[in-house]
């Protein structure tokens, strides 16, 4: 028998209903990003100077909340993990692309989603960043298929989860990640206080 989740949304409410549902989910995403302060490049960049670890806190809280709910409902057989999209792993493009992305993040101060929120609230640096993103996507699409097509498939492992890699039940992996995240939260709170007191001394 099929599990309830994920819903077969297009069949349930039709293609227009599906579009409305996705816009609503995107709305929630954009709203939270703005409320978390991610429309401000200074707040995002402060992450890399240890003054303000909001990026880390928001991101990891979101990951563990969604992860625990997904694997809990899968364990209860309400959700089917096999029908959930798990980004296929391509080790080398992910690693190199991540480094380039990280460099762009500290130079430009945003990522694509936060830049969109920033531009939506009339921040010109967000708008310029967004223009850059489109330029980078364009450059990649034009250059890479010709030059580096072979590289894009390097280290391809397909749909590959941490649970498969470690050879344990996903529940234990999820639990482990929650423990690590909580430990990191304690650490970053300490780091933030340390940086704040150092600033006062100066």
């Amino acid at each position: 028998m099929d599990t309830l989740l994920p819903l077969n949304i297009a069949q349930l409410i039709g293609p227009v209903g599906e579009i409305i549902a996705i816009i609503a989910l995107g709305f929630g995403f954009g709203f939270v990003l703005e409320r978390a302060g991610f429309g401000d490049s200074r707040k995002l960049a402060a992450q890399f100077y240890f003054h303000d670890m909001t990026v880390f806190k928001v991101m990891f809280t979101a990951i563990i909340v969604a992860m625990v709910l997904v694997f809990l409902l899968c364990a209860l057989q309400v959700m089917d993990y096999e029908r959930i999209w798990v980004n296929p792993t391509y080790l080398w493009p992910g690693l190199v692309g991540g480094l380039i992305f990280g460099a762009g993040f500290i130079i430009g101060g945003y990522c694509p989603g936060t830049a969109l929120v920033s531009a939506a609230t009339l921040k010109l640096d967000g708008l310029f960043f967004l223009g850059g993103v489109l330029l980078g996507l364009f450059a990649f699409g034009e250059l890479v298929p010709k030059i580096w097509q072979w590289f894009l498939g390097a280290g391809a492992l397909g749909r590959y989860s941490l649970a498969q890699w470690l050879g344990v039940d996903p529940g234990y992996v999820a639990l482990g990640i929650v423990v690590i995240a909580v430990g990191c939260f304690v650490l970053v709170e300490y780091v933030e206080r340390m940086m704040a007191s150092r600033k006062e001394v100066r």
């Binding site: 670890m53 806190k57 939506a120 996507l137």
Partner: protein, 178 residues
């Protein structure tokens, strides 16, 4: 760190990071539950670019496998969930900014640089981010956040790599932000 707000109109405070993260996690979970996939931002932008190229140079797009897949599929190339999600993110950010009193024309920049150099840096950084996101098949939303929550190995590699790239160059660019 004084957040310099104009005295006449104080914007609303940002949410507590853990609260914001928990709500973001619920939105992400709801997206998985309703659609079977996570959130995304750069993918929709890639489709915008590919669709624009398709309008201007259709033959060129058909000859390029990377672009052909981006506009491929039935119907209009922009009729795709990644593009609809962008519409939602834009409206969500706009509404939140309006309600919070943060909808204001300005440029965020470090105290030691001018708005003009900030724009140049934003453009350069954005270009690298767009390039890297396409190479890594996703950004902080579609790859790190969404793939991380469902335990994709590649998503964790990408996430660590992004933080490594940022921290490695942070010292070099300290005058831009501090």
């Amino acid at each position: 760190m004084a957040r310099q707000a104009k005295a006449e109109r104080q914007p609303a405070r940002y949410w507590d990071p853990y609260l914001a993260g928990a709500i973001l996690g619920l939105v992400l979970f709801a997206t998985f539950a309703v659609t079977g996939h996570g959130l995304g931002a750069s993918g929709g932008m890639a489709r915008l670019i590919a669709a624009a190229e398709g309008q201007l140079a259709p033959d060129h797009v058909q000859r390029n496998p990377e672009l052909a897949t981006a506009v491929g599929g039935a119907g209009h190339p922009l009729d795709h969930w990644l593009v609809w999600m962008l519409v939602g993110v834009f409206i969500g950010g706009l509404v939140s900014g309006l309600l919070a009193g943060r909808f204001r024309l300005t440029t965020f920049h470090g105290p030691q640089i001018t708005p003009r150099s900030r724009w140049a840096l934003a453009l350069i950084g954005g270009t690298l981010v767009g390039f890297g996101a396409r190479m890594a098949r996703g950004c902080t939303s579609g790859q790190a956040l969404s793939g991380g929550a469902v335990l994709s190995v590649g998503s964790f590699v990408f996430m660590l790599s992004v933080f490594a790239g940022g921290y490695l160059l942070a010292y070099l660019f300290r005058r831009v932000w501090n």
